[in-house]
Amino acid sequence: MTITQLKEKSKTYRKKILELIFHAKAGHTGGCLSIIDLLNVLYNHVLRIPSPKDPSRDRFIQSKGHAVEALYVVLADQGFFPEEDLKTLGQYQSPYIGHPTKKIPGMEQNTGGLGHGLSICAGNALAAKKDKSDIKVYTILGDGEMAEGSNWEAMMFAAHYKLDNLCGILDYNKLQISGANAQVMGLEPIKQKIESFGWSVKEVDGHNIEELVNTFDQLPFENGKPSFIIAHTVKGKGVSYMENVAKWHHGVPSAEQLEQALAELA
């Protein structure tokens, strides 16, 4: 897909996410708009997934499971299930629930509770190394999630086992549910911390499609080291009244707000 096509995709995805959350009357709007450009580049440029169960597929596990609506929109667009099915999101007996589950084609693992994804991905990457397979494994972590100690256990492990087929991606929008990271639990200096754990780290603008494509194309950043991308993002990106406002972490737009948002994204 060309850069122009990818940019168009991002616009379409943003609109679909907002419509989906509006319809379901629940969702993690801010985080979805924050990670959607990352998911777009991953699924339309980076990941090799011929079909959801193909043994040779690359693996993506969304550790910040709460931004599931963005993943639903992208997986439906990949043709893994009919987009129509998403109308049942959050309803009784619908498989489309508020966090990722393996029941959905294309979702690799149940996530939701934070601090699980990086370990699971490291285990997956280790198995691929042992099997001499060229499968690559990716995860998106939230910035608030980085306070979970298990992530740092996984960091040590991945460096120790030289998992250069593993890539962690930080959705660094600087906000979490109760406010700014800096107030809740400071992450900085995050780049130096992750580097000091033995990873090769790059920083990017997480909404700049070209920059994302170029960065992912350089993986692995160093042979013998796991790679980490710090993606500087904006919570609620693309909708003026949502951007950088913590309450949109779990906010649902009204009909008027939806209309305004869709107009801004047109």
Partner: protein, 317 residues
């Protein structure tokens, strides 16, 4: 008279080690992980045979469970090993979400369960692990009674697709079950037939229950002793069949009474055929330092207390 005899005493964790050594040669999908307790878990044989299938995780149990889930997603059969306290209670959310809820084929295999690790004391003596694990939907919970049975269980769980918690211990105990037995998950074993009282025991308490049955026989009481090596799924059929005959029962386990094997049995019987029941287990208390035998006596996890409880159950008929 002696219902069972034995030639040697061995620790059940060595049975686990022997099972792992067998799996290193017979099941290429099995991989082992350990949080810095290789010697305590008796993994040397596995590592010697299959160093490329062993992964040291360091003292980072939460990550070990996550790594195991990832390996399982990739088609491996991971055996995640450490002490029972750190392999269950410490990492409950990892097990709940990434193993049980996700249905990953992870085997959580833990030594030093219960009081009998002895001198280390309460921080290491988990008495809640059976309860924690049995509450998780889809989790199989196994507590074998001796070396041979632990070895057989270790081998058998590789063939079971899904999460398993296998619990064993540190002290040497009589080896009285057959060598090279076939272990059937969820199938209780009737060790001694009797008609006066049923004793349902798991783990180290199975041998104590056999001793209790001998003492009871001297008093003219015929106790039935059943080895419930699998707490979940519980062999309801075997339990109901036994109590239909004996009309009273005792449960015996190296675990809290709250949430243990006895709880599961009581829940079954209260819905079907409630009979007088007595519990042998730790009664809402933490452990402490001491020689295993001293601790088992203090907390009533021995043959004498099982006898007492059996007599009480019989008197309540």
């Amino acid at each position: 008279m002696a219902f069972f005899t034995y030639e040697t005493k061995k620790d059940t964790r060595s049975g686990f080690g022997a099972g792992m050594e067998y799996l290193s040669q017979h099941n290429p999908n099995v991989v082992a992980l350990c949080a810095d307790l290789i010697g305590s878990l008796k993994l040397e044989g596995f590592i010697k045979n299959s160093p490329e299938r062993f992964f040291q995780t360091g003292i980072a149990e939460a990550n070990m469970i996550g790594i195991s889930a990832g390996l399982a997603v990739a088609g491996k059969i991971p055996y995640a090993t450490t002490f029972a306290n750190f392999g269950t209670g410490r990492v409950y959310d990892q097990i709940r979400q990434s193993v049980a809820y996700s249905g990953t084929n992870v085997k959580i295999c833990c030594s030093h369960a219960g009081l009998t690790l002895g001198e280390d004391g309460a921080t290491h003596q988990i008495l809640e692990d059976i309860g924690l694990m049995k509450m998780l939907p889809g989790m199989v919970v196994i507590n074998p009674c001796d070396y041979n049975q632990t070895k057989a269980a270790t081998i058998a769980i590789a063939e079971h697709e899904g999460p398993v918690y296998l619990r064993f211990g540190r002290p040497v105990v009589p080896v009285f079950t057959p060598e090279d037995q076939k272990f059937e998950i969820g199938k209780a074993i009737n060790l001694i037939e009797g008609s006066d009282v049923s004793i349902f025991a798991t783990g180290h308490l199975v041998w104590e229950s056999i001793q209790a049955a001998e003492i009871l026989l001297e008093k003219g009481i015929k106790a039935e002793v059943i080895n419930i090596h699998t707490i979940k799924p519980l062999d309801s059929e075997a339990i109901l069949k036994s109590v239909a005959k004996t009309k009273c029962l005792v449960s015996a386990e190296e675990h809290q009474i709250n949430g243990g094997l006895g709880d599961s049995i009581a829940q079954l019987l209260i819905q079907t055929s409630a009979y007088p029941m007595e519990f042998v287990g730790v009664n809402d208390s933490f452990g402490e330092s001491g020689k295993p035998a001293e601790l088992m006596t203090k907390y009533g996890l021995d043959a004498n207390n099982i006898v007492e409880k059996a007599l009480k159950a019989i008197s309540r008929k």
